[in-house]
Symmetry: D2
């Protein structure tokens, strides 16, 4: 194995990243070392790049960023009966401690002491990476390698749509970034009666319609809109929240997924008058969601290549980030 490797580093608490050679990591006890095959860029990585307060509260530089990743196991340091060298594995971002109250009552994904792969510690935008054994997911070989990398954000969508309960229902997806796009695809597979997408960007509305959304809208227009059984808030803005309350039907449900930078303001009484439920999603159920996600990919019901629009080398990270910020893209894949 080489002794140095290319990596995308957050070196200091300020906007920007550095792409440079660093030593290949040793494999800590309880972890596996992988050769990274593909990685993909998440909206969170944009926040890391821009150094938002939400990230600043979590990330202590310097670290290797990147949490959507697939790699081949080179080394296993610890007990891992279900893993072996050569396995293609992905990483669950939420590194749970297995001892807190939430872990003990089977909510490992919202561990009270959760640490984040790629923003609470070193991640996978690098040629080699190490992953805790207990957050390593062994992939089914029937899934394409690119899809293996994008499985983690798809998992978010699977969890959103599963909690939404969409069979026979009219669904509004607010925000058509990769997770919103995936949510639409999953909603169609799980039997939604109608899936409507909302986004300001024409590029993304077009992409949404191409991959199976029934229709898309640019902005709220009551007449065009109708009301929805479920509204999924996936923009991370606050302006859409009052819109969500208007758009959801009496006794309907709002799924909160996107984390806005500013406080939300809305009429709390509307919640009550319409007896609305709000459910929230913070990542994937471990491992229920991964099994579901895997099944969607193995059966071909969800085809992630439809939303992979760009591919870059890891060394071209700055260019990839520019495309990412333009909003004129689906998912962007990186190759070390």
């Amino acid at each position: 194995m080489a002794e140095t490797m290319l990596a995308v580093l957050k070196e200091s608490g300020a906007p920007g990243v550095v792409v440079k050679k660093i030593p290949v990591p040793q494999t800590p006890k309880g972890e596996v070392k992988v050769k990274v095959i593909y990685a993909s860029i998440c909206g969170t990585d944009v926040g890391i790049y821009d150094w938002t307060p939400w990230i600043a509260a979590k990330l202590k530089p310097p670290i290797v960023i990147g949490h959507e990743v697939v790699g081949e196991i080179l080394e296993i340091n610890g007990e891992a009966p279900h893993l072996k060298k050569g396995d293609l594995v992905s990483s669950e971002t939420h590194i749970f401690d297995n001892t807190c109250y939430q872990c003990r009552i089977n909510n490992r994904h919202i561990c009270e002491n959760v640490q984040f792969f790629g923003y609470g510690r070193n991640g996978g935008f690098s040629e080699y990476a190490t992953i805790p054994i207990h957050t390593t997911w062994k992939n089914d070989s029937r899934i394409s390698k690119e899809a293996m990398s994008v499985q983690e954000p798809l998992g978010n969508s699977v969890n959103v749509i599963t909690k939404a309960g969409v069979a026979g229902k009219k669904i509004l997806i607010m925000g058509l970034g990769p997770t919103g796009l995936c949510a639409g695809m999953v909603a169609k597979v799980y039997g939604a009666s109608e899936v409507v997408g909302l986004n300001r960007s024409e590029y993304r509305r077009n992409l949404a319609e191409k991959i199976g959304f029934d229709r898309t809208v640019q902005a709220v227009d009551e007449k065009e809109f109708g009301t929805f059984d479920v509204v999924c808030e996936m923009t991370g803005n606050v302006d859409t929240i009052p819109v969500a309350l208007d758009a959801v039907r009496i006794a309907g449900k709002i799924i909160a997924f996107g984390t806005p930078k500013k406080p939300a303001q809305f009429n709390w009484g509307t919640l009550i008058d319409k007896e609305i439920t709000i459910e929230s999603i913070f990542g994937r159920r471990i491992w229920e969601t991964w099994y579901q996600t895997s099944d969607l990919l193995i059966t071909g019901k969800v085809d992630l290549t439809k939303i992979i629009t760009h591919r870059f080398k890891l060394s071209e990270f700055e260019e990839a980030m520019k495309v990412m910020k333009s909003g004129e893209c689906g998912k962007i894949i990186l190759t070390p």
Copy 2:
């Protein structure tokens, strides 16, 4: 029967009411006429008195106000196999139309065309009243007559606590008006591990502790507080909402019951980071909640006399309203 009767009237779209003699109503088709035995004052009646925007959007003067009521049937104008003259009945406030989508999918309490007894049409702060047959509840004779009148707000609490799911859980009740007090009693009966009440008024905190709350607090103090599995927002203020988000544990639940006058503002991201669920309550499930409420009263598990602190004649309505507004009271009963 007398030809005129005393009634509390909202005569015009401005603060205040008028207590005066008006003609005894005829019994419309599909309704029953009752001789009112007891009525009780709700927080909504304060809003009616003060003429808040929420009420102004619903109430078209002049009408007889009052929706918590028990009466004896004098006349039945229509088919009502389960009712007969002499029955002691209460009124469900939400007059549903039985034809809209929500009614047809068994959500009658949030009927799309709901009309409100006592603020969308004539209610029961009067010597006689008429009630639609399909929203008339026949009382079990083992229940005291005063309790029969207070059953409707107790029903709100029963629905709040049922949706909360309190068995073995730590519950925070924000707001110790009669509905909050009832919610605490019901939470204890349904097996909450700990029930804590929050209120600024010492009078109400004392009352809460007397009727079985484990403890009460005046304001938020993280140390004293701990975190809660469920937080019931029953104040109708907006200041308590960010407090609720802090006070609820990871994966906990907030129940929205109180309708604030101003928009709420809070950190939407907290919902997501803690994977909080918000459920809302708009009245009572028809008739599930009434059966539950009735059972609590028949078995004596809930004793409403503990929170009935004042009794007035209907003619003393202005005085009763003064006490109501002081906050130094539990439930106030009116006798025609």
Copy 3:
């Protein structure tokens, strides 16, 4: 209107039926009269024909049989704001009384005093029929008229699959009669990962595979079988019940739909060792299931013509029943 009409009558408590002319019925108060356009034969009609004990306990001859039906309204005798002459309507078989405990807690389909259209009273295998206003469903004109008739059994399948909760799950449908076939179609639409059908008849296995089942099996063979997240028992036999307990995975679910003639016998301890849940279905949720069913037909997600294999004139009822009993059919449509 003609004064007599052709009808299929159960004239006495013995096997067989009589097809003959009888007077066209008057429209009772609270009912509509329809000109029947299509009717379809249900498994229950075979039981009626054969005079099984389950039927003998419910049916008092003489009555006109048949409960799957679509007709055009000729006359309305009572208040029916949502209906008018010329409307194409179907009948919900479960005539609920709206006053029992189950009706009052929103379980109208399992009314304590339920009466059955077509086997507890006159049904619709006739040129004209009357239907209670409160169990009359107004059809959406985008649905084909034949499908309107078959909506009621499709509704059973929709309720089975909705209660099953199939998104991402492996489903075994035991019994591939029309309801089992519909269940398979609905399971696919609602996102089941795999839908397997079990039936002894090659004809029905072929039909199942043609309409979208992933695979079918003739009998239980552990190797071929695997285990299933949900097993839907839709045969009405008792032999399949121990098979269902074996075929369902740990923590899986069995849906009981078919009513067997003999007592079931199985190892109750298996329920416990595998922590299995059994849920049962008795007809359609009123009206939630009808809305769902209607949506599947309007959107074209379910195409009922795929399972309509035979069409007969009402006068050819005996011949139709022969085909029905052969098992070499899907749904059979009758035209008056």
Copy 4:
């Protein structure tokens, strides 16, 4: 520490046990060694004593039996950040493997490869015992030591009543052994409207009434009985199953807990006609149920001393088993 210890051994595949001195065990890797303070006898131990087929399929002699136990930690062989010497701990009987599908989807109590403490491997009817670290529960010191031992069967009842969902409901407990008795106590705490117990033994009916059951019955008598929202089958007999189907109301729930020795036989059609749900319980949710159980004991809402009727020395095991088999007892405590 002594080199030998008294233990209750299943030495061979035949009825009976042997109480004798054996070597004190070493502490295997991944386990703790405890000095047993109290142990208690479970219905399963009677099956072990009698050598029933269900046990014969699981237990490979020779082993030390006994799974309800509290002990003080003497030694820890492995990583156990939440445990230390001197801690008072209990054992969860279901030793899960943490790698199977059920464990990975958060159903650890029904692990596909579950091993049983005290009947799949050495248990705790002995002076010293070893327990896997990952199934060791650290007790809250506010709980009495005897109760710590009985926490595991109380946990079964907590899980039964939690799955039942009893608030405001009428509950029938069939079988008034210790778990049935506990279920009744928990049902009262969690707000059941009425708790009725069924048992042939007068001793146990008296005990049930003493600890808070609303009433008890000896056998089924429709008039006396009424119908129940939930029926908990906790006898382990098959005769009670048809009774449960009769006793449960339309749309009610049966909880299957007791494992009968013979196949059950009943009318499957009744399930459907009444749309009954059957849910099953196999032990305690790990660790949700333990937290709930602990809370009931800490708050004093459940007082286990009320059902502890006998205390024996470990050396008197045969005598204790005689009392156990007589049915004239509640819980029996053993002291090493």
